[in-house]
């Protein structure tokens, strides 16, 4: 649920936020050492990689602890600030993603997998990691984070009433490298706790345990943590130029140290020689991130090998990508990019468009009807969108768990069936007719038989009510715009008048996740009906358990879907005691929500990565993490 979207064109990931919180939402000059150099030949060696950021991406926030509420810093929790910046310098306790697998990566984690025993969770840190000031990464650094989390309480950015920090009875450093947590409840899934709770923790160095007046002791006492947080948040909120020279942020345990960052967003990092984790032999030593104003500007520079700031790793706009052959993930490169290798990266995410079940303009009773949601999903041409605006770089979505990357969470129904909701306008019309609607293809359907019985429109739908709906979608994202227009066209064929309106990404996400009028105790003015901004990225909660998006009390259930059986099944996944029980509970839930259609399922879009030939980056991480310490040039 990390905000800010993917780092590449076309694909926008979800913004994250808890309800009521703030909107969840380099260069080498011509001779400065980009190993790709100015010659149009592929790289064959070098120590620098220049990495092009997504257009509009901003990197400027080093503090890896987030709070919500008024004055909170959750607005800085996006993939650029966290994955591309903070995690390069300050490694999270647990790392997720190994190539296309989104599971726990034990090799890159700072601690061994947690050990569970009843209500006790034991975290045992590896002893080979040190801060760049020479101090070991130990239990006190983890306690620093835990104490700050407990002090912030409900203001903690990822507060979970059934998880952290609410469910903590006590937490202690039981030895120099061991942290023991005693939980209040015993009924929790170990997978969920590891993947969706402990995944949020980033150890913080003792040098940060201070206020303006000097050293503090948040690592050992919750009492002083609010003052320490306030001091650190203030330091992190300073201008970009102050961050690189700060004695606080220069203390790292990750593989990279910040050398410079400017107000334009150009970030230069150098390798931290004291990093204790695994690296590739001959890895690069300078990692440069460059900002871009548009996809087109980035693509232009990719095509110009003599550019002042050559790009070693960048992103190809989907609209410029040749389609892949059947069965292949990526197609050939455009002919203007002979020096690059194209790969398609599928992020661990869910692409969907919520219905607003809290809508106050009269459409909520329509969305309440399962037959309507089925009919509406029949109008979504996922294959058409994948083969059209996405140029073949997409996978259909059939339920609450994405088909790709492959996981053990998919129900048999979805795993074998693929897009179980393919375009079928006749089926949509049939469903509407069978439920009391007077269907007028290319006209306007009206409810002919009001009532709640068989063959009637359903509760609270008056006779004569017309199927007139509206949808807002995020502007500036080609495939979303095309998909919205095609959906409106397909809907009109079935007599549903769907008016679509482009708004800024922030407006759409703001309407769904943080409009106070839609989260009031008594909702009287909540007008959006359908909203499309792209996808929801599973980070730092890596399990698609539904407690973030689909349960009745989920913090990011923007549309307000609430179904008793769904809630029970989500609880079952959260309380599964063994991995097998967990997978079984997930299969049952995935199957149920595939049929129930709480949202409109949309195609899962790929990110197209261009890598200069000769640079080995390894497989791209499906959890949207980058590991430049593994990147190296091969001859």
């Amino acid at each position: 649920m990390r905000s800010g979207g993917h780092r590449r064109g076309g694909a926008v990931a979800a913004c994250c936020a808890a309800v009521g919180l703030a909107l969840l939402l380099a260069a080498c000059g011509p001779a400065s050492g980009s190993s790709s150099g100015a010659a149009p030949a592929a790289s064959g060696g070098g120590t620098t990689v220049t990495y092009a950021m997504q257009p509009g991406a901003v990197i400027n926030y080093p503090f890896p602890f987030f709070t919500g509420g008024s004055g909170g810093n959750l607005g800085n929790d996006d993939v650029y600030n966290v994955n591309d910046f903070q995690y390069q310098m300050y490694r999270p306790l647990y790392w997720f993603g190994t190539g296309v697998s989104p599971y726990l990566n034990t090799k890159l984690s700072l601690a061994a997998p947690p050990v569970y025993n009843g209500k006790t969770v034991v975290i045992r840190l590896k002893q080979n990691y040190r801060w760049s000031n020479g101090e070991p990464v130990d239990a006190s650094d983890v306690m620093f984070y835990f104490n700050m989390m407990i002090a912030e309480g409900k203001n903690y950015g990822f507060y979970d009433s059934s998880g952290l920090p609410a469910d903590i009875a006590s937490v202690h450093a039981t030895s120099r490298y061991v942290v023991t947590i005693e939980l209040k409840s015993v009924n929790f899934s170990q997978s969920w706790f590891t993947n969706n709770q402990l995944s949020e923790i980033t150890p913080m160095p003792m040098a940060w345990d201070r206020t303006a007046s000097g050293r503090s002791n948040c690592a050992s006492s919750v009492t002083n943590c609010l003052a320490v947080y306030a001091y650190l948040a203030k330091q992190a909120g300073k201008a970009a130029s102050a961050i690189a020279s700060s004695p606080l942020w220069s203390i790292v345990d990750g593989p990279w140290k910040l050398q410079s960052i400017n107000s334009q967003g150009k970030v230069v990092m150098t390798f931290n020689n004291q990093y204790g984790g695994p690296v590739a032999p001959g890895h690069i030593t300078t990692f440069v991130q460059l900002p871009y104003t548009s996809e087109q500007a980035e693509y232009n520079v990719l095509q110009d090998p003599t550019a002042g700031q050559t790009i070693d790793v960048g992103y190809l706009p989907t609209v410029d990508a040749p389609s892949p052959a059947a069965g292949a993930l990526a197609g050939a490169n455009p002919s203007t990019l002979p020096n690059y290798h194209l790969s398609a990266q599928y992020i661990w995410q869910l692409s969907y468009m919520p219905y607003n079940f809290k809508n106050t303009t009269g459409q909520a009773p329509i969305f309440d009807q399962l037959y309507f949601r089925q009919a509406f999903q029949d109008l979504v041409d996922q294959e058409g969108v994948i083969n059209g605006p996405l140029h073949g770089y997409g996978k259909p979505t059939a339920g609450p768990v994405s088909l790709y990357p492959p996981t053990t969470y998919l129900s048999q129904q979805v795993e074998s069936g693929g897009d179980v909701w393919s375009l079928n306008i006749n089926a949509a019309e049939k469903l509407l007719r069978e439920h009391g609607w007077n269907v007028r293809p290319n006209g306007l359907d009206t409810c002919a038989h009001a009532g709640t019985g068989a063959g009637e429109c359903g509760a609270k739908i008056p006779g004569g009510m017309a199927l007139k709906l509206s949808m807002i979608y995020a502007s500036g994202i080609d495939w979303i715009q095309s998909a919205a227009r095609e959906l409106a066209s397909n809907a009109s064929l079935a007599g549903i008048q769907l008016s679509v309106k482009a708004e800024s990404f922030g407006s759409v996400v703001g309407a769904v996740f943080s409009d106070a009028k839609c989260y009031a105790t008594k909702i009287t003015d909540c007008t959006w009906q359908l909203a499309d901004w792209g996808s929801w990225t599973y980070a730092p909660d890596y399990l698609p358990t539904g407690d973030t998006l689909f349960s009745g009390t989920a913090p990011n259930n923007g549309g307000g879907y609430n179904d008793a059986k769904d809630n029970q099944m989500i609880t079952a996944t959260l309380q599964a005691r063994t991995p097998r029980q967990f997978d079984n509970a997930m299969h049952a839930w995935d199957s149920y929500l595939t049929d129930q259609l709480p949202v409109v399922y949309e195609p899962d879009q790929a990110t197209l990565v261009e890598t200069i030939k000769g640079l080995d980056t390894g497989p791209w991480n499906s959890a949207d993490q980058i590991t430049p310490e593994y990147w190296h040039y091969v001859k």
């Binding site: 104003t293 232009n300 002042g308």
Partner: protein
Amino acid sequence: MTAYLARRVLQAVAVVLLVTLIVFGLLRLAPGGAAAGVLGSGSAHQEFLAQYLTWLGHVLGGNLGRSARLNEGVGALLAASLPRTLVLTGVSTLLALLIAVPVGLLQAVRRNSAVDHLLRGLTYLFYGMPPFVLGSVLILYFAIDKHFFGAEGPQAPGIAGVITDPRDLTLPVLTLALVTIAIFARYMRSSALDSLGQEYVEAARARGGGERRVVINHVLRNSLVPVVTLLGLSFPQIVGGALVVEILFNIQGMGWQIWQAAVNHDFPVTLGFTLVIGVAAAVGSLLADVGYALLDPRVRGARS
């Protein structure tokens, strides 16, 4: 002349104050406590006028607010983006002026000749071509195919960093200049044609002045008035940036910054930049008025 200038300056000050009033009104209406971000939380109880005067004091002291999204002061963002935009649009406007004036004059003097037809065709072509298309064509040929120039604008900070990178500056400047040349030349041609038909031109010719001397001394000066008007009107664009060119050439200038601020609901930045562009519009108008007066004594006589 002094009285005329004084009146124009006072009018410009009044316009600027009106702009500040509107901008502050919008800042106060913006959701998320944007005004409080500039004024401080203790200002919430104050009346509008007191808040406005406090804000004006902040603005005059250089405090335009702070962007929570970018963790930067609006003043610092202006300082980073304004020099890029000034160089880009300033150089392109100057270049356009230096080319368009003689081109327009030549077209008027050689009216309906082959040269006039050719130049008219070119000005129509560039005038009708969207900057995005023109810029893309220039990039495809001169940067990607021939490698003569860079595919993106200068990335070094500050005016010196931008000006000292002519390889990367050429294509964005050319994209803007070609369109501006087309506009200025059309106005210059039309104005020069009017001047050429005036009695004082005939009188100068009758007094035995050579054609070149007549054109330069009598036609050129009088034909520049509408171009000066255009120049004054383009001042806010010079300061406000050329959004499309900035987006296409990866230049984080004023236009791009204000667009990013708008789509991200970054109200302090949107309104801080709007204020600067509004002031530029008033200053541009004032400079145009001064230009009229310098070019045509009748103007200051009639208005004084």
